[in-house]
Amino acid sequence: MMLTATSVILVISALLLVWVKSIMSSIRILALQSLFLGIACFALGAQTGEAEVYVMAVLTILVKAILIPAILGSTMRRINIRREAEKYIGRGASLLLASGLVVFNYAVTERLDLMLLGSEIRTLPHAVSMLLIGLFVMITHKKAIMQGIGLIVIENGLFLLALSTALGMPFIVEIGIFLDVLVSVILISILSYRMDRTFRSLSTDWLRKLKG
């Protein structure tokens, strides 16, 4: 029950991401989202008494809620200019589209009769909708960093799915996934920094030379 509540909050936070204007505030929303995820995981650990779930909860909060926003924040600070997170389509339209995606997703996941996985699991549609919103964020945003943030939202969605259906992946796999997410965030920040130094802007319009 606790899990379904947090998953609804997560979906809302993802939608918020679509709405928000500046990059720094979207990083803060991401941190918030990861924090909620950690708390939900902590609660699940308490409920099932599994030691591994506790470790994962701590890890989520440490890595996703604190470390990753810190890295992203530091890169933004090193670029030291407040940046707009312009999008291809206006805020209102993108919010409408994102919620449309979520509604479509709920309709579809019902039809996919996944209830075999466990009648009590409600979070699958939420996880898939977070994945779709993450993708949506990556597609509509011009700024490179926002695409990185979209990627992390997708990872959060998948972590939520893993938690709800199978109490998280086997421990080594979870550690592996965390490591991968962490290193990819580091790589994203390095690349954004270098992009800023070469193109003096983070917009992906500069990344269009390789055609055909």
Binding site: L112, D113, L114, L116, L117, G118, A127, V128, L131, G134, L135, M138, A144, Q147, L151, I154, E155, L158, L161, A162, T165, A166, M169, P170, F171, I172, V173, G176, I177, L179, D180, V183, S184, L187, I188, L191, R194, M195, T198, F199, T204, W206, L207, R208, K209, L210, G212
Partner: protein
């Protein structure tokens, strides 16, 4: 403990290279490390050929015949690429394209890349398999972004974002698979063991069909992005053309085989529950689309390395069609095609490296008379182009012929016919470019003569494989390939 050592050696060499001071030392460490790593890998392959499957660290590492074939590819191509990169990096260093720090970074990430690729074919747990594949993406993204140029940055960014999203979708598939495994066998077995290939590989393990079907779709699209199937391949030409040539040889020849190996393992698992007949149309569809999709891009291409990248997309399509056709003949043909393609493509990329360094441009229009100017690389490149387009005296003809023969035998005549037509069209397009580059009176500007010993001798190994495997395949190799095919048909009999 052999698999563990095979992993640790490249990691250690990477670290040492980074730590070493002068370039001479780095090169010596780099060569020693890669030779030892390849030797260990080949020894591991030989032991798999002897004992069937090799496990270590209590089922953490498991190398079966399927993994062994792919392991053999990384051993051979990895070694030749490392030999080639010594000459290549020296030339780039002399030209000033790379400074000392970048050279160190190159060698460090090169060995990390080899380590992660070795991990993919040795790890037993399918979840860890996914982690290893993700790791290869990130590490190779560093290598793609090595040059201080805008295009390299752009290519690395697209590579990272696209493959990251794809891999995330694949993770969704893995999670669904794991969930349904827990749901059916949750109580009987220990939770950690449920995602192991040794467990899921058995033919009698049946999971829930709908869930596994859906999971396979996500896996196909996710890993398909990594393999470079047609509609999801857009990162591939950028990454392969902007990366340093030895890395693009590894990317094209080896990395895509890892992703294909992962997809095949998941397909075998899904096949047990859902039945292979449902999996086949996905593979054949993706394969044919890739083969036909690559033709226009090869026809009107100006950049040499992008053309080779699109040819890789075509060959991944052929392997997918072969797996889709299935049956003992089909799978054996797929494995043979994978091996032959790796050899031919690495040969072509290294030759392309020499050409681009000699002529100082990647534009094919400005490269003429290569046969006269590069007396060894020119003919080698010509042999490579003929081999990659499936002309008989070379190995790829044998595998493409067996794919088509299997296609007609397994009742998939139209797929085989369309594939043959696609191959012929791409042959025409590639030969059009290669003919213009190879023949013709050489202009006086680039002086005749090979670059250096380092850039010609590595080409000999893949050239030998491409020519020899055309007519005679040693029984050891065909035995290994046949056993890998049995795994794909009958599933992993523990």
């Amino acid at each position: 403990m052999l698999p563990l050592w095979t992993l640790l050696v490249p990691a250690a060499t990477g670290a040492l290279c980074y730590a070493a001071r002068n370039t001479r030392l780095i090169e010596r460490v780099h060569l020693a490390g890669s030779t030892v790593a390849s030797a260990l890998a080949l020894w591991l392959v030989w032991r798999v050929y002897e004992e069937g499957t090799v496990t270590a660290l209590g089922q953490f590492f498991l190398v079966d015949a399927l993994g062994a074939v792919v392991l053999a590819i990384i051993a051979l191509v990895g070694w030749t690429a490392s030999l080639f990169s010594v000459g290549y990096i020296r030339h780039e260093r002399a030209k000033g394209a790379l400074d000392a720090r970048q050279v160190k970074q190159y060698y460090f990430w090169y060995h990390m890349f080899v380590a992660t690729m070795l991990a993919v074919c040795m790890v037993n747990n399918l979840g860890l398999l996914w982690v290893a594949v993700e790791a290869t993406t990130i590490v190779s993204a560093f290598l793609v972004a090595l040059y201080r140029k805008g295009e390299a940055l752009e290519a690395a960014w697209k590579y990272l974002i696209l493959c990251g999203t794809g891999i995330a979708i694949a993770l969704l598939g893995v999670i669904l698979l794991y969930a349904s495994a827990i749901r059916t066998f949750g109580d009987a077995h220990n939770v950690h063991e449920l995602l192991n290939w040794s467990f899921l590989g058995n033919p009698d393990v049946r999971l829930q069909p709908q869930v596994v079907g859906l999971a396979f779709v996500f896996l196909l699209v996710g890993l398909g992005t990594k393999i470079g199937f047609a509609p999801m391949h857009f990162w591939l030409p950028d990454a392969h053309s902007q990366a340093p040539t030895p890395v693009s040889a590894l990317l094209s020849g080896v990395l895509l085989n890892r992703a294909m190996l992962a997809l095949i393992r998941f397909a075998v698992v899904a096949g047990h529950t859902v039945g292979l007949d449902e999996i086949r149309p996905y593979f054949i569809g993706a394969g044919l689309v890739s083969v036909l999709f690559a033709f226009p891009f090869v026809l009107v291409q100006q950049d040499l390395k992008r053309m080779l990248a699109f040819s890789t997309v075509e060959h991944m399509g052929i392997i997918a069609v072969a797996v889709g056709i299935g049956g003992a003949a089909g799978y054996a043909a797929a494995m043979l095609q994978m091996f032959n393609h790796a050899m031919a493509k690495s040969l072509l990329f290294m030759a392309a490296g020499n050409l681009t360094q000699k002529y100082g441009t990647k534009q094919m229009a400005r490269i003429t008379g290569a046969l006269r100017i590069l007396p060894f690389t020119g003919p080698a490149a010509l042999v490579g182009v003929l081999a990659i387009s499936g002309l008989p005296p070379f190995s790829l003809f044998t595998s493409e012929f067996s794919v088509a023969a299997a296609g007609f035998a397994e009742g998939r005549p139209w797929a085989a016919a369309v594939m043959l037509a696609g191959i012929a069209l791409i042959f025409g397009a590639m030969l059009f470019h290669a003919g213009r580059m190879m023949f013709g009176a050489p202009r006086e500007k680039p002086a005749a003569g090979e670059l250096s010993r380092w850039s010609t001798y590595p080409l000999l190994l893949p050239l030998a494989f491409v020519v020899v495997f055309g007519l005679y395949i040693p029984p050891a190799v065909s035995g290994l390939i046949r056993r890998a095919a049995d795994i794909m048909t009958g599933g992993w009999a523990s």
